[in-house]
Amino acid sequence: MIYAAWLIWAVPIISVPFIPLIGMVSQRGRNWFAVLASALTAFIGFYLAASFSSGMTESSIIWLPIFKVPVQVLVDGTSVLLAAFISFLSFLIVLYSVGYMKGEKGQSRYYSLILLFVGAMLGLVMAGNLIQLYFFWEIVGICSAFLIAFWYDKPEARRAGLKAFVVTRFGDIALFIAVLIVLANLKTTNYASIFSAIGSKPFGTNTVLLVGILLLIGAMGKSAQVPLHVWLPDAMEGPTPVSALIHAATMVNAGVYLVIRMFPLFSYSSTLLVLVTIVGLTSMIFGAACAVVSEDLKRILAYSTISQLGIMFASIGVGTTLGATATYHLISQGLFKALAFLAAGSVITATGSRNVEELGGLRKSMKYTYIGFLFAMLAMSGVPPLIGFWSKDWIVSTALTSNVVAAILIALSSVLTTIYSFRALFKVFYGKSKLPNEPKESSTVMIVPIMTLVVSVTVGWLVLDYQRLVPFNITIDPLTIGMSLAAIASGIGIVYVAFSSRTAQTQSLMGRNAPLIALRKYLLEGLGFDKFYGFLYSRIVLPLAKTSSYLESGWLGVNMGLMLASVLLIIFLVALKVI
């Protein structure tokens, strides 16, 4: 069983170099090899989940003897469950890619990066210490940047790739500093050792607080929480399967996983938990508000991811269930978001457009895609008995017992969630088609993953309830169900009125009302975070950079003079000290 825990991330990583090699011989062979590799990974994932009994097992190989850093796999309920989930979802997405990427250039690059991406994410989840986690964390970051910029002929794609790369680095620095502080204080970064040291001498309250804040910043960068979220909406420039992978299976989950994994550290200090909650709630509301106005189908989904991840952070911060609620919602979000992206990708391949205003009436011509998207949106809004209902209402129920404000905010955000979900659904699949030609349904290889996910979204909660890896014991109290059903009903009501029965009145209201116009404009710009960062760069970093190179005038005389001056200055300082 323990071998499976090593193999699950080794298999995709080892198969990376074979992709270009096989690609030289046969294009088809290469694509199916990638599918096979990810299928094998998924199989190992399920085997791991099936053979896992209980408790926590570690297995390690010495890697850096000096710092006693081993390569380590940690097998416990959370890691096994997430590994199985990630490998399953990745398999579906790779399969879908075969259809989606048909006829694209640079597919060897695509499949090698995807496999490396998945392998690194699985390595991150299975890692038994923080150094190893950081190692894979960075690889995940690099792969995502390259994948986002996959269509490098498009300037927006290049910009988005660089942006993802740079913005997530902010979080990475914080995580790196946290790892170093832990290592410097405890001489180990093994999770169990960290948790047992919490509170004792070299790892006292202040250090824990500092490390916790740094870890949180790291998680915010990867999981696109406000204010480090700016890369995620732009990351939509990548191929849609990549978006699905980033949003559902890999990248953004890394941050949440970090916080879940380090929960004993976070729960040590109530300040930390409050911070996690605040970050989560802010992102939840921000993401949902931006998703309501966005006109790009994929951006709507991106903002919704920010919002859903915010819910996970908030549920960890509420802190009653040791992060189990967040784990559940992570899987639930992964499933319905992957479904939404795959369906959206199918729409985009068929119509060539991502703008919801240009689409419409696809319900009849793309039946399977429509079913997929419908189920995704129903699950996202939390309509029972789909998986989203269980995960979200469980979060609200647990929050009600400890943090009523958070619970009410999460329940209220359901209204916004329902609005943006159904707005997208109505605009794309209902109404009159605005397209010149009738779009055709996508190929079977794309429909199979979509339908698999429809089934997963519908019955996934049963599987999650009966698995033994992480005992969820979901309890949802009736008050919560009432609240969320009311939220969904009012959301659907608003959408129906605004976008279906009284479209004209809505448009005239939006056109006349100055505050609404302004609000919409700001939300479309993402509340000006991008502008702010641009300002920081042009006003602080660039002038500093220019000043730094002034010293090199290129004149030998000036250089010599400056050098003499520095020697004299050092002598002077030394002399001052002596006297």
Partner: protein
């Protein structure tokens, strides 16, 4: 076969000198001689590497000598790892020279190889030297051929200008260094680094001075300035961008790694042995922390706005010197391990970057960033190697630079002198540096170029770049052995001055009474 460790460097230098003289003789024989010169020098470097490795493994008897005797040389782990790094860089550069100069008018590549071997000999002796006079002679042996190498493109004004600038500044550094040495001699009447340390704190000087501190500090300042110029640490860095840009790019690879890296060996011997007494150490710990911050910040920020790839690499070299100095400032076994390890990695990363850039610059005829546009589609190995080495310089796992930076930053956190602020500044700097490293990658792979004609990659360049990339990736995936070597070097250093120091000092005092 037994070789006395005291004489080991002489054997090493002797073999290489034989190679160099053969190459000089070859240069009169005719046109084909450049290939023979390349073969000879490559074989010579490879032999020297093997020789050092065998010595380090104890095949020739004693592994390390006792430099506290009046030996001219310190044959220890520091010398071994620096020696191998320098020889490796020389080997990489040597592999590319024939191709690089193939269409430069007015150059004789055979002479280039002779000079390359000569400067390598000087560098090796500098690494091994345990005596200030030997150190100075080796310093000059290293520098003089490198001036000629810098100006090797005779018809190119930029190359000539770079050579003159390098020469003037380097002469200044030699002068300052020599002045420092003379002051030490004035104080102690001795030139052997490992003996001076025992004379220093007692104030027992030949000239009868009782307070050695002012002059000692002055000497220390001169050493810092002299080494600082070769190390390209701010504020002694102004010559670097011009010199590296003007010099033939493969020579920049040599200067920025072999020459610079090798300077760390005597610098660390002077600081951690000669000035290791508690009278001096607090002074230079802070000095080096400040130099480190200045170098990192200035190097990385100045690189942000540069338009030329060689200048970006030059500034990156200044920034990297800053990282290496963290270990010197943090001190202790971990700090030195970090410094040594980072120098090793830096040598392969930076030389790989310069060599890959050399191939591209030679082909497109300009080192402007815009002329690198779309290179990724025109040639395979060079942009890949450049990308790998740049990402490694930026400290990305799973590449070699990540681990050495990791050790360095950790050493600052664990340092007894409370240098956490230094580590945090360094990490932020490391983040800033990503911007310009990735910028080059972006130009190569993402931007659309004017031309799509394929470029020729000659075998020499390919071999060199693939070897360097393999080392970068290999070290990144399994850094264990190299860290072990670096630790071994640091340990041999620390024990020399900490545990046995007191006893030896006492013995010396008794003896001199």
């Amino acid at each position: 076969m037994y070789i006395s460790p005291d004489q080991f460097p002489l054997y090493l230098a002797g073999v290489l000198a034989g190679v160099a003289l053969t190459i000089v003789l070859l240069s009169v024989t005719g046109k084909r001689s450049k290939y023979i010169a390349m073969g000879l020098s490559t074989a010579g470097f490879a032999f020297a590497i093997t020789f050092i490795v065998l010595q380090a493994l104890g095949y020739f008897g004693t592994v390390q000598n006792n430099p506290t005797s009046s030996s001219l040389f310190a044959t220890d782990w520091v010398s071994y790892i620096f020696g191998v790094a320098v020889l490796l860089v020389a080997l990489l550069v040597g592999l590319t020279a024939v191709d690089y100069f193939s269409d430069v008018i007015g150059t004789d590549v055979t002479t280039f190889y002779a000079l390359l071997v000569f400067t390598t000999i000087g560098t090796l002796l500098l690494i091994f030297s345990a005596n200030l006079l030997m150190m100075f002679v080796a310093w000059e042996m290293m520098s003089i051929p490198s001036y000629v190498l810098t100006g090797f493109k005779k018809k190119d004004p930029a190359s000539n200008e770079a050579a003159v600038k390098y020469f003037v500044i380097s002469a200044f550094s030699s002068a300052v260094l020599l002045y420092g040495i003379s002051l030490i001699y004035l104080l102690t009447g001795n030139l052997s680094i490992y003996q001076i340390v025992r004379l220093m704190p007692n104030g027992m000087t030949v000239s009868g001075m009782t307070n050695f501190q002012p002059i000692g500090l002055l000497a220390l300042t001169f050493f810092v300035a002299g080494f600082g110029i070769k190390l390209a640490a701010v504020p002694f860095h102004m010559w670097i961008p011009d010199a590296y840009q003007g010099a033939p790019t493969i020579v920049s690879a040599l200067l920025s790694t072999a020459t610079k890296g090798a300077t760390f060996a005597p610098a660390i011997r002077v600081l951690f042995v000669m000035f290791s007494s508690s009278t001096f150490q607090p002074d230079w710990t802070l000095t080096f922390a400040v130099l480190s911050v200045l170098s990192m910040t200035l190097g990385n920020f100045a690189a942000l706005t540069q338009k030329s790839v060689t200048r970006i690499l030059a500034y990156s070299s200044i920034g990297q010197a800053g990282y290496i100095l963290i270990g010197v400032a943090a001190g202790g076994q971990l700090g030195l391990t970090g410094s040594f390890f980072h120098i090793l990695n830096y040598a392969t990363m930076q030389s790989c970057a310069f060599l890959a850039a050399a191939l591209i610059i030679k082909n497109v005829g300009s080192d402007n960033l815009d002329s690198f546009n779309g290179i990724g589609k025109r040639v395979a190995v060079a942009p890949m190697a450049l990308t790998l080495s740049l990402l490694a310089l930026g400290g990305f796992p799973p590449l070699s630079g990540f681990w050495s930076k990791f050790v360095l930053f950790l050493s600052a956190f664990q340092s007894t002198s409370n240098l956490s602020w230094l580590a945090i500044v360094a990490i932020i700097n490391s983040f800033v540096s990503i911007a310009f490293y990735v910028r080059i990658v972006k130009h190569m792979y993402l931007d659309e170029g004017n031309s799509t004609t394929k470029l020729v990659e000659t075998n020499g360049f390919k071999a060199s770049l693939i070897l360097a990339s393999a080392i970068i990736v290999g070290t990144g995936i399994y850094p264990g052995p190299l860290i072990e070597f670096a630790t071994e070097a640091a340990r041999s250093f620390m024990s020399e001055i900490s545990s046995t120091q007191l006893i030896e000092r006492l013995a010396f005092i008794l003896h001199s009474l």
